[in-house]
Symmetry: C2
Subunit: 216 residues, 2 copies
């Protein structure tokens, strides 16, 4: 099925910044770039538009570019959903439904994220960080929440590609990851939800442009 592989490849190209936010994507150009005809490209466009990665702009489609306000709205929804997945994961831990190996892998992800960030391997750090949060959503065993979060992550990733900031907050991020991990491990749903929500909102507050960053 070329439609599906076209969708995945195009999504990768967008998430990698090959098609940056605001860039126009044309059927013919993408079709030639990926070596398929326009039909599967058109269908991939529809699917990616429904996922919030592409948006109509008069004639044709553009890669979505979220402004500061919209990004804050995405983060607020993400905070609510990650609070839920953390809560659910902690519930499952309390019910004895999480294997120790799963929690160990989660802790290892937190470690690797921290090391990559500290070493300045920012691209890898971003990937690992997303992996850490996604793993929690997987442990929540709620595919609906997982899918919704995947969509939000895609949108965030596209809109924050430029600002792979050198993090002065490395230790804070890691400490918050530990808090979250501890709450889940302890099987404390309320604490896990609170830790997740605080972490996401703090992340947003730290990444927010300081009023004179960029305009357009």
């Amino acid at each position: 099925m070329q439609t599906e592989s076209t969708r995945l490849r195009l999504r990768e190209l967008i998430l990698d910044g090959h098609y940056p936010p605001g860039a126009r994507v044309g059927e013919v150009e993408v079709a030639e770039a990926l070596g398929v005809s326009r039909t599967p490209v058109r269908e991939a466009f529809r699917a990616l538009a429904a996922d919030g990665l592409l948006a109509g702009a008069g004639r044709g489609l553009r890669v979505v570019r979220l402004d500061d306000e919209e990004l804050s709205q995405v983060y607020r929804v993400r905070a609510a959903l990650e609070a839920l997945t953390a809560e659910l994961a902690a519930e499952r831990q309390r019910a004895g439904r999480l294997a120790p190996a799963e929690l160990a892998e989660l802790a290892a992800l937190a470690d690797r994220t921290h090391r990559a960030t500290a070493d300045g391997r920012l691209t890898e750090a971003v990937r690992l960080n997303r992996g850490f949060h996604r793993r929690i959503a997987e442990l929540a065993a709620n595919p609906v929440a997982l899918h919704a979060l995947d969509r939000l992550w895609d949108q965030i990733q596209v809109s924050t590609l430029r600002s792979l900031h050198a993090p002065a907050r490395t230790d804070v991020v890691d400490a918050q990851h530990r808090d979250l991990l501890d709450a889940i491990t302890a099987g404390d749903p309320a604490a896990a939800a609170a830790a997740a929500r605080r972490h996401v909102l703090d992340t947003r507050a730290a990444d927010r442009p300081t009023a004179d960053d960029d305009k357009e």
Copy 2:
């Protein structure tokens, strides 16, 4: 643009139960029924699949049929998101950003929902109820949350078409709507979030099949 109108019309047909959960949807059949060619139908299929209304089933697509477990997962996400929108709406009220007329319309929606339910006009009651909750999400002024909730509502609506139950809980539902409304009107975000979460989860608990309802 026929693609978009095809998508909307097909969505209506699915939500109305014209294509019931589990029904196969064929390109040719839908194209003939709507009087367009297969191309816009195919693109509408992709978009509706991304929205969670259609899902692949070997050859072709079927209308999504959520089992009891999946429906509970949807409700849990919905509870988290409606808690968020209620919280945001209450925040805006506290900040003086909600017009009195907007709150009055919301109260009127609650009234009409209650009356329609009490009078046994169930189809209308479902529509009004959805309108009430959606209006709160609109007042939250967060399009991301609004869109996510629209998707969840669509999935719920499709999967609960059969069970337009005569509600013994009419008064409970109305009382919870009032609580939610009061918390928003009072500008109390925490209370609004709690009221919304409880209402959604209670609704799910009440609608859940009592173990011997249906199997398949």
